[in-house]
């Protein structure tokens, strides 16, 4: 069965949201705008040249995916350890997460896209609920001109541009649907608004202090005396979004290996891959943005 355009757009939206949230601490308003414009230009260029068919692209993408899968597996594991399952061995969380990724990733792209679509209904529902509950805490005075001033603008913009282009390539193994500029712009305007929304609620100072500002905004919620302490729902919601980024990174590796090695059955290779990613994610150091910020005060 053919995968529809709308399904690809939803997947792209979710992947971009994951990248946006996982890099929330490193980006600024300016870097979002610049890197999105750059990324859109690149993507439109790729649409014409179709560089995905070259072998070299596939090799590069495989290694890139391996890197990002490991890096973000570590990051998402820490996210779970901080927000959902405290006081738990990080090893167990990343092991189970990796198991879930391999379990679903080996089912084929039809199943993957169907799971993403099903989850997207819930993701959308909880995103809307999130906006509705936090909007009473939005204050315009928090949005100041300081938002445009950032250190390391060049490096951050470059990184973010690369990541957006990377999410574009994650879609490729599923379908080679052509994107329209409109679809890309909508996704990016959404990110911009979300960024402003979070800053508007939390103020720039607190946004810089907290590791997960997009969770912290929900800790403020206390409506009609009973709707409070709801941050677990957005945490789970974001976890789904992050999970799909990891999942498609894995699928990219598997898909490319299948084509490059010209083998149907990659059973032993996948077991090796599992162990490799698991070990790599353990070695990847956990870094504290928070403490860094505090010392620089």
């Amino acid at each position: 069965m053919k995968i529809k355009k709308i399904e690809i757009r939803i997947t792209y939206f979710i992947l971009n949201l994951a990248i946006f949230l996982l890099n929330f601490k490193n980006i600024s308003l300016l870097s979002i705008i610049i890197s999105n414009i750059l990324a859109i230009l690149f993507i439109l260029l790729f649409e014409k040249t179709n560089i995905y068919k070259y072998k070299l692209t596939k090799v590069i993408l495989t290694f890139l995916s391996l890197f990002f899968l490991t890096y973000y597996l570590n990051k998402v594991t820490i996210f779970i350890g901080d927000n959902i399952l405290r006081e738990y061995s990080i090893i167990m969380i990343s092991l189970t997460l990796l198991l879930a990724i391999f379990f679903l990733g080996n089912k084929g792209y039809h199943t993957i896209i169907k799971v993403i679509l099903l989850a997207s209904y819930f993701i959308l529902f909880f995103l809307i609920i999130g906006y509705l509950t936090t909007i009473p805490y939005f204050e315009f005075k928090n949005i100041t001109t300081k938002l445009f001033i950032t250190n390391n603008l060049f490096l951050n913009t470059l990184k973010y541009t690369l990541l957006i282009i990377y999410t574009y390539f994650l879609i490729y193994p599923l379908s080679n649907t052509k994107f329209k500029t409109k679809d890309l712009v909508i996704t990016n305007i959404y990110q911009l608004l979300t960024y402003l929304f979070i800053i508007g609620i939390l103020s720039l100072t607190l946004t810089n202090i907290y590791e997960y500002p997009y969770i912290t905004i929900f800790k403020k919620v206390n409506l009609i005396g009973f709707i409070e302490r709801i941050e677990i729902l957005p945490s789970l919601n974001y976890l789904f979004i992050f999970f799909f980024l990891l999942l498609l990174s894995f699928y990219q590796i598997k898909y490319n290996l299948n084509i490059l090695l010209k083998k149907k059955n990659l059973k032993y290779l996948l077991i090796l891959l599992f162990i490799l990613i698991f070990l790599l994610s353990l070695i990847t150091p956990r870094y504290y943005i928070l403490n860094h910020y505090l010392h620089s005060m």
Binding site: E87, M92, T96, S203, I209, Y210, K220, N222, N291, L294
Partner: protein
């Protein structure tokens, strides 16, 4: 079968390290912190539940001393034989011995602890031990919340505000509670010193900070000292422009024994507000009022 095996394996491997029964929690409701001879002294109110369903939960207060906050919490956990659970903390009481250095440690403690939520009230008092031992469950919280909402004579300061103002290097305003558990205005913390602000002055500070919810205002009549003009300020908004302070009020007249007309009321109210606001700003002050109610009896 394979899945069940994996489940059982997981169960045995993890040993449920984060599993905790509700009755093993020591739920901390209120924390009091002061510094005595280079040591922290911590008072912790712990909510205990009796099996008989009583309306009021029983509160026990513990006293403990130590070098650092983390050490104190560990010691407390050892004495109680329970897990210290800070996520339902709703009040932090400090006194004048807590200065910049200590505040830095407190903020660091709360930010780095993912379990806590920084939406609890922070107050200042001169008699910490008495206040914490005599106050009832959520009593102070309700007192401060009500008085800030109904009379605007204090500011409901959460830990978020403290953190934000601390890093923005602005004044931190804390509600000031006397030893007989009554509100006595605010304490302003700036440049490592505390300064007291009287209840009646807090209203004008709130005007300056755009914090006014609603309050009642009374003036004696100029022709008869025994008669009063009562006003209810329903809403107020302050816009802080570059060289102008624009205040808009919505006022309802409760009783007008002096038979003032609209202009007289306007002038009386505005002059009083302007003269009191000059303490905080040199900007030009513009006040716009909409007054409802009867002018003459």
């Amino acid at each position: 079968m394979k899945k069940i095996l994996i489940l059982i394996l997981l169960f045995m491997l993890t040993g449920c390290s984060s599993y905790i029964e509700l009755n093993d929690l020591a739920i901390i409701n209120t924390l009091g912190l002061e510094k005595v001879n280079d040591n922290y002294k911590l008072y912790a109110s712990i909510v205990n539940i009796k099996e008989e369903e009583s309306l009021e939960p029983e509160i026990e207060t513990y006293e403990i001393e130590g070098n650092s906050l983390n050490q104190i919490v560990d010691n407390l956990s050892l004495t109680l034989n329970k897990k210290i659970y800070m996520s339902h903390l709703n009040l932090l009481i400090i006194n004048d011995t807590i200065k910049t250095q200590e505040l830095d440690e407190i903020i660091n403690f709360f930010i780095n602890n993912n379990e806590t939520r920084e939406d609890f009230l922070v107050i200042n008092t001169n008699n910490l031990e008495k206040v914490i031992k005599n106050s009832k469950f959520q009593q102070i919280n309700d007192l401060v919340e009500n008085s800030s909402r109904e009379t605007s004579k204090t500011i409901y300061t959460t830990m978020y505000d403290v953190i934000k103002n601390y890093y923005d290097k602005e004044s931190i305003y804390l509600p000031y509670i006397a030893s007989d558990i009554t509100l006595e205005g605010l304490k302003e913390f700036k440049n490592n010193t505390y300064k007291e602000i009287k209840s009646d002055d807090v209203i004008y500070l709130n005007y300056y900070l755009n914090n006014i919810d609603t309050y009642k205002y009374s003036i004696t009549c100029h022709n008869n000292q025994n008669k009063y003009l009562y006003l209810n300020i329903l809403t107020s908004n302050t816009s802080n422009f570059k060289n102008e302070l624009l205040i808009t009020n919505e006022i309802k007249i409760i009783s007008n024994d002096c038979n003032y007309n609209q202009d007289e009321i306007n002038n009386l109210f505005n002059n009083n507000l302007k003269s009191n606001l000059t303490k905080y700003t040199n900007k030009k002050i513009t006040i716009k009022n909409t007054i409802r109610g009867t002018y003459e009896n």
